[in-house]
Symmetry: C2
Subunit: 332 residues, 2 copies
């Protein structure tokens, strides 16, 4: 039996990536475009970005010969419920000459599959928000947190940023000089780190600087916390430890003690060598000492793998994962 060709798309808020591969593990092409989430960018803009990424990935491949596709998208459920969003994706698909059906999966499942081929496991994602999900038979099963900045996302970039500001405010209330992290937070928000003769004036200025912007922009302060923790700044180290505790607690809501299935870490705060990733790994090893820890990798390749693994002729999906998907650096 000859190899089939499949397409994987990983649609994010800031970039869209496409990959075209064969069921025998050949990578035929990749493409990249700007953020393509119809919820945040609108259906037309999203469709245009998808087209750009797909067009590049399909260069040199006959789109009519493509057999299957998987699209990974945050809020996949909402897309399917929204005819305009669904229609935008259909149009992009057909505009580049694809005739095969495609399946939409949540970005959490794609992140999981980019770190492990095991049908069962847990994925823990921390970027601007934070979510944990249990995967069963490579389908999203139960989910914890992901409740948004107002009610949840404990341990996320938003959470780190908000808590960093809260520590500065507490210092000012106590008439303590903020430490190095506080100085960076003040500088980022006020343009300087001078404390007013009445510290309450600085408190008011700080609160106003935050509330003038959409709350979610507090996540922009998270890199300051991560950098400061890297330099062992005590407040930052404490915040990162708390964030790791929150993320592990979210995972524990859907993962029994002692479970041995893989744990995949995804999202900007967990895929790099960040202090938060290290703190979280220690926390996860404590709770689930037997579980392999893996890092989320190439989402578009994982989407393509999900499209390929059930096709006729694919006898060893795990081996195909090894060929197609950067298997997620095993963490330590």
């Amino acid at each position: 039996m000859s190899a089939s060709v499949v397409v994987g798309l990983d649609v994010g808020g800031t970039s869209t990536r496409a990959t075209v591969v064969t069921t025998t593990g050949e990578r035929l092409g990749t493409g990249r475009a700007g953020g393509g989430n119809p919820t945040s960018h609108g259906a037309d803009r999203a469709a245009a970005e998808l087209r750009t990424a797909l067009h590049a990935a399909l260069a040199g491949t006959d789109p009519a010969g493509v057999t299957a596709g998987v699209i990974g998208l945050a809020g996949a459920g909402r897309l399917l419920a929204d005819p305009a969003g669904r229609d935008a994706f259909d149009r992009a698909w057909h505009d580049v000459g694809l005739h095969c059906p495609y399946t939409v999966h949540s970005d959490a499942l794609i992140a999981y599959a980019s770190g492990s081929p095991d049908p069962d496991g847990t994925v823990l994602i921390a970027g601007t928000g934070a979510i944990a999900a249990r995967v069963r038979g490579l389908r999203l099963d139960r989910v914890a947190d992901g409740h948004g900045w107002l009610l949840g996302d404990a341990g996320s970039g938003f959470w780190l940023g908000r808590e960093a500001v809260r520590r500065v405010l507490a210092d000012l209330d106590r008439a303590h000089r903020p430490g190095p992290l506080g100085v960076r937070v003040l500088t980022e928000l006020l343009g300087h780190a001078e404390i007013a003769p009445r510290p309450r004036d600085t408190v008011d200025a700080l609160v106003q600087a935050v509330t003038r912007r959409p709350p979610v922009e507090l996540a922009r302060l998270a890199p300051l916390v991560v950098d400061a923790a890297r330099r062992d700044e005590p407040t930052a180290v404490a915040l990162v430890g708390e964030a790791a505790g929150h993320l592990a607690e979210s995972a524990s809501r859907i993962r029994p003690p002692g479970a041995t299935e893989p744990l995949v870490l995804g999202g900007g705060l967990l895929t790099g060598d960040t202090p938060l990733a290290s703190a979280l790994q220690a926390e996860l090893r404590r709770r689930w000492p037997e579980a392999p820890l893996r890092r989320a990798g190439d989402g578009a390749a994982a989407a393509a793998w999900l499209a390929a693994r059930d096709l006729p002729g694919v006898t060893d999906p795990e081996a195909l994962h090894g060929l197609l998907v950067d298997p997620g650096l095993p963490l330590l």
Copy 2:
């Protein structure tokens, strides 16, 4: 020397109260109107409410004979910085025939003075928001928290409501049935307490029900928590205990350990016989065993007392406080 006549006004978000008294402790009149905060209601509406309250309080008194006035107002500093707000207050004052000067103080100072005549002490207020303030010579000195719902107000009505929803979400994540408080929160927000076959659907509905409204409306759930704590519901009791801990921690930012000056409790969550008031009293007694605990009382009378106490002929301000201001029920 004959008695002077003074006016006190307590301007809140939902009601405005005026009191006319003499420096010898006679209460000449009171008046009441709707919310008169120029920041939330606009300058014209605020001026009209002030006029209504003052007019009623001055019935039977010659306004030209009034010697001094004090107005208590949330965000007093902002009013003074805003010419339109200041002008609205001036107009109301003159429209009812008052010629004397008046002083504007923050509602926190008024709350303090409504519970204690001691020039030095601490006031702790929890309603929709939460704030602690140190009073020195009957002037607001240092302040802790009051940072608003996004960054602070720890232990406030907003905080209690948000945490109550967070507990329900955590229960649903864990596939636990919410307890009695959770059932009331679900009913309040969704109109029913049925958990969907996929509990995540109930999670999504709950998050949407909250995020559809202004965040501060989470404070509307606080009475559910207070009621449930009264009936010893474990989740509610735990939340109330945490809230008390947060409020005491805010006070500790501005009040040294072992301080013996009065602690005045104000705001809707602390002036009634609520479980939060009891939990907070226990927490405060633990930290400041020697300090008298008092309850905030009649704000308009306290404002009038502040206007009177420095006038010639007032030789015993503390005795005058006893006559004019319900001296704050000593707590236990």
